[in-house]
Each structure stands twice: as structure tokens, then as C-alpha cells.
Amino acid sequence: MDAIATDGLTKHFGSRWPSLRRRPGPPPIRALDDLTITVRAGEIFGFLGPNGAGKSTAIRLLLGFLHPTAGTARLFGLDVATAGATLRGRIGYLPGGIALYDSLTGTQLLDYLAAFYARPPILRADLVERLELSARDLGRPIRDYSRGMRQKIGIVQALQHDPELTILDEPSEGLDPLMQRAFYAILDERRAAGRTVFFSSHVLSEVERVCDRVAIIRTGRLVALERVGALLAHRRRQVEARLDAPAPRLAAALVALPGVSSLEARDDRLAFGFDGDVRPLLRLLEGVPLADLTIEPARLEDAFLELYDEPAP
């Protein structure tokens, strides 16, 4: 069963009723338009888009904070609109820029939030240790916490009850590189345990590092939904070849090869962009007096930027 399935999920903000004023009011804001995605149980799913693209709106619709203008959102086969509270018992959620009850200590906060669930907080001790929250830290009021510590306690509260689905909004914000690494290891273990993670992020390298599949949205519309590997395979890699001896016909042959673009030939150096299957390129280079060959892997960042360079849908 899919952990998340949305069908034509749409959210427009703005007045639902005609304005009584003579001049028409501002048009409704189309925060999310016709989002149809499925997230399989046991995968880590990245949700990408710049600020204002509709990521938080989608997450809020999944949690039942917002009511859809059209379409449906189902978690574990149940409609969010009718089974919201039941479903939230199976979910852990880390809001972006989490606000916490400042007067409570870390332990009091975790106890308070855990007590709402039927599941005991069986992962807390392990998470606290791996995110290096000491007993002394947890005994201090949250108002004294740094941004990074707030984020760590936010991660612990989202995961401590071993939820089947975890929804994380910008989870590594404020974490130092060591803590980011510890956090990625935790996510890998969630996947290994068959749990599902849905997270939005601006940090494309982290999405590339941990996610199985990604969805990219732009101005509220889905523009890509693929496995990370497949998305990168379609994208342009940068190739640079240095030659021991001139190969006068090579440049022309490269231009004719499908997938080659932006070819620059200078003395013994050829540089070009390449997308698609790499094997025809390697066959072409057989027998060419190569001194060095560099193929830079495609990066999610490039894929993301390419999708955003295309005209709006």
C-alpha cells in the first residue's frame, strides 16, 4: 500500500465569494495545482522547490491543517479529510523553523508530545544519543537552546514514537555537518526498517544523498517525479577530454553524436555537455589518443536548475 497518494490535490487561497466592492478583489492564489503523486511505503521521498513553490502547502494538506480546494490526499489508504486524527497517530512531523514551548525543558517537551500517542517513545534514547543531546541539555529550558539544538529536539519529537511515516520540512536546517551526517544515517535506518520518510529541502545535495525518488514542484505544479538516479541519467554531464595528438575528425564526430552539446575544441582539449546513454560516447572515443578523460556526474542541482530554466507550465 502507498504511504501517500494524492490525486489532483489543489489548494487556492483567496475569497470564495464574490467581492461586494465595486472593484474586483485580488485573484485567488494558486498555491498548489493538481498534484498527483504516490509515495511508496519504505522509501525516502524528496519534495523540492524554491520558496513559495507550494511545498509547505502540500505538507499542510497532508496533515489536515489545510482543506483542499479540489482533489484528495490519502495516507495509508485513508482519506486525510475524514481520518486525520487517526492518521496523525501514525505520523511524525517536523515543521520548518519549528516553534517549541519555551518554558518547558527538553525532557518535559518530549514527554508531553509523546503522551498523545498510543505508541511509546521507543526510539527516544537512541535518537538523543546519536544527536548528542545530553541529559544536561534535556534538563534545560528550551528558551536557552541554540537553533541547532531546537532542530535536534524537533527531530527527536518527530521520530521518537517510531512513526510509520515521517514528514520533515527542511530537516537539516541549523544542523552542523557532523549532525547532518548523523541525521542522514538515521534516515537510512528508517528506510531499512521499512518506514517512510517524506521531506522537503532546499539542500539538493542532501536530497541526492538520501532520497530514493524526488518530486519537483514549481509555482504549485509538479514538473518532475522520478527516481533520483533516473533524473540524473537524463541530465547533462560535463565531459572534458585531453588528447595526446590531434584528432581532426573527432570534433565533427562528436557534434553528430546524439546528446552532445556546447562543444568547445581548443588545441588538445575538447569540452562538451553530454546527456543520455554514455556507451555510444565511449565507443566513439575508442582508438582516440586520449591523455585524460573526465566525466563530471550530473548533479541534482543541475537538474533542478534546468527544470526551473524551462518556461513555466
Partner: protein, 270 residues
């Protein structure tokens, strides 16, 4: 209702509530002391032709006096000082209960738990009623303690005091429900607090004007304070209509909140 949320609400509010209850108890305690010490002299003064009119206006304004023990009890409950003190933990709490959490961004942390919004609302409403009940208990306990210690409790009837308490809880329950209904309707505390205080202050002002100024008496029925009548209760003339009207205000406020809160969109805090 969520026991966990209720305990957390209680823990967060009990300090302020305790301070207000102490202040109310001291206030209540002082009034029988004043009555026991100066009541006869003040009564004589009030009956003298020179001051009768002034005292009559004053007692109509406050709804109580210090010439009789029943007037003293009524004064303890309806005086603006007592009303303002009770309003702090009841209306102040209710107006900020949801809108304040929304403004601080903690509401989404709470609503991400397996809780229906109606359960959150019901729990906060129960807390509001409890705070109103305890605040009214504090002032009556102070009055009773003062009356017993100074030997003026013989004329007080327990049933009348219980009705006064119920009438006070009904008034502040209704005002608290209005404040909570405003709180679930807004994303920020200021408009919710504005509406709650507006209803309370305007209601009190109308009662004040209507009581003192005969030409404005027609306004009295629209003030919730018109239906808080400890003076009549202690005179043995309890009117159940008071509780019915305050109950109706409560019901309308609860109905609105139950309708709007589950249907509201809670967009990302800006």
C-alpha cells in the same frame, strides 16, 4: 477532551491563577471586615436624608453595599475590581489559548498529534470553565472566611452563596466562551483579545449606563452583566432566566467555535 493537553494547560496557567485567587480571596475577606467594623455607622449615614441619594446611586452602580451582609457579599462579587480580577485568568487565558499558540507557531506542533481540533477546543473550554469556577470560589471563600471570623455569617445561606457562585461561573463561562470563540477564529492574539475585551468592557459599560441613567435602561438586556445578580439572589429572588440567557450566550459562542475551528485553514505562520 484530552487529559494530556488539560494537564499541560493547568500546569502553564496555575501560577497566574493562584495569584489571582489569592488576590480575590483577600478582596473578599476585606469586605465583611469593613461591614463588621463600619457597617452600622455607614448604614446610619446612608439612611440620613443628606446622603441617602448618594448612597442609593452608589449601591445601584455597584449592585452591593456595606450596610448589610448580603450587600457586602454582592459588592464583593460585582465590584469592578473583582470582575477585573476574575477576567484575567478566564478571558485573558481564553482569548490567547488558540490564537496565541497560532501566533507563536506552537499550534501546528500540537495539531500534528492525533487530536481532533474539536478535542483541543473542548479541552480549552473545560479549562476556561474551571478557571472561572475557581476564581469565583476564591472570592466567595474570602468573603465567607471574613464573615465567619468577624461573626457576621449568621445571615448568610449556603444555598444563596452556591447560586451566586453558579451565576458568576455562568457569566464568566459565557464571556470566556466568547473569548475562546474569538481565539479559534484568528491567527493572532490581538484581534481575539480585542473582541473578548470589547464584549466585556462594552457589556459592562452598558450595564453601568443603563443602571444609572434611566434613559439608557432599555440597553440593559443586551449586557451580559445584567444577568449577574447576586443582590437579587441574596435577597431570595433568584431568577432562572439569568442562567438561561448566559447559557444561551455560551451556547452561541460554543456553536460558532465548533463550526469554524474544524473548518479553518491553518496556513504556514507568516
Amino acid at each position: 477532551m484530552s487529559g494530556n493537553l488539560f494537564r499541560r494547560t493547568w500546569a502553564a496557567q496555575r501560577g497566574r491563577l493562584l495569584l489571582v485567587m489569592i488576590a480575590l480571596a483577600i478582596w473578599g475577606f476585606l469586605l465583611p471586615v469593613v461591614y463588621a467594623t463600619f457597617g452600622n455607622e455607614m448604614g446610619a449615614l446612608a439612611r440620613s436624608p443628606a446622603f441617602a441619594n448618594v448612597f442609593d446611586v452608589m449601591s445601584r452602580f455597584t449592585g452591593g453595599d456595606v450596610f448589610s451582609i448580603s450587600g457586602t457579599v454582592a459588592l464583593g462579587l460585582v465590584h469592578p475590581i473583582a470582575l477585573a480580577l476574575v477576567a484575567i485568568p478566564v478571558i485573558g487565558f481564553a482569548a490567547g489559548a488558540v490564537a496565541g499558540e497560532r501566533q507563536r507557531g506552537t499550534l501546528e506542533v500540537l495539531l500534528a498529534r492525533p487530536l481532533e481540533r474539536r478535542v483541543v477546543y473542548g479541552t480549552l473550554l473545560a479549562a476556561t470553565l474551571l478557571f472561572a469556577a475557581l476564581a469565583e470560589v476564591a472570592v466567595l471563600a474570602g468573603i465567607l472566611a471574613g464573615a465567619v471570623l468577624f461573626g457576621v455569617a449568621a445571615d448568610l445561606r449556603a444555598a444563596d452563596l452556591a447560586l451566586c457562585w453558579l451565576n458568576g461561573v455562568a457569566l464568566f463561562g459565557a464571556l470566556g466562551a466568547v473569548a475562546l470563540a474569538a481565539s479559534v477564529s484568528f491567527d493572532r492574539s490581538a484581534p481575539a483579545m480585542g473582541i473578548a475585551l470589547g464584549v466585556t468592557i462594552v457589556g459592562y459599560a452598558i450595564n453601568f449606563l443603563g443602571t444609572l441613567w434611566p434613559s439608557a435602561a432599555w440597553l440593559l438586556p443586551i449586557s451580559p452583566f445584567r444577568y449577574f445578580e447576586p443582590t437579587r439572589i441574596l435577597a431570595g429572588a433568584f431568577d432562572p432566566l439569568d442562567l438561561l440567557v448566559l447559557g444561551a450566550i455560551f451556547a452561541v459562542a460554543v456553536g460558532w467555535a465548533e463550526w469554524i475551528f474544524p473548518r479553518r485553514d491553518l496556513a504556514a505562520p507568516s
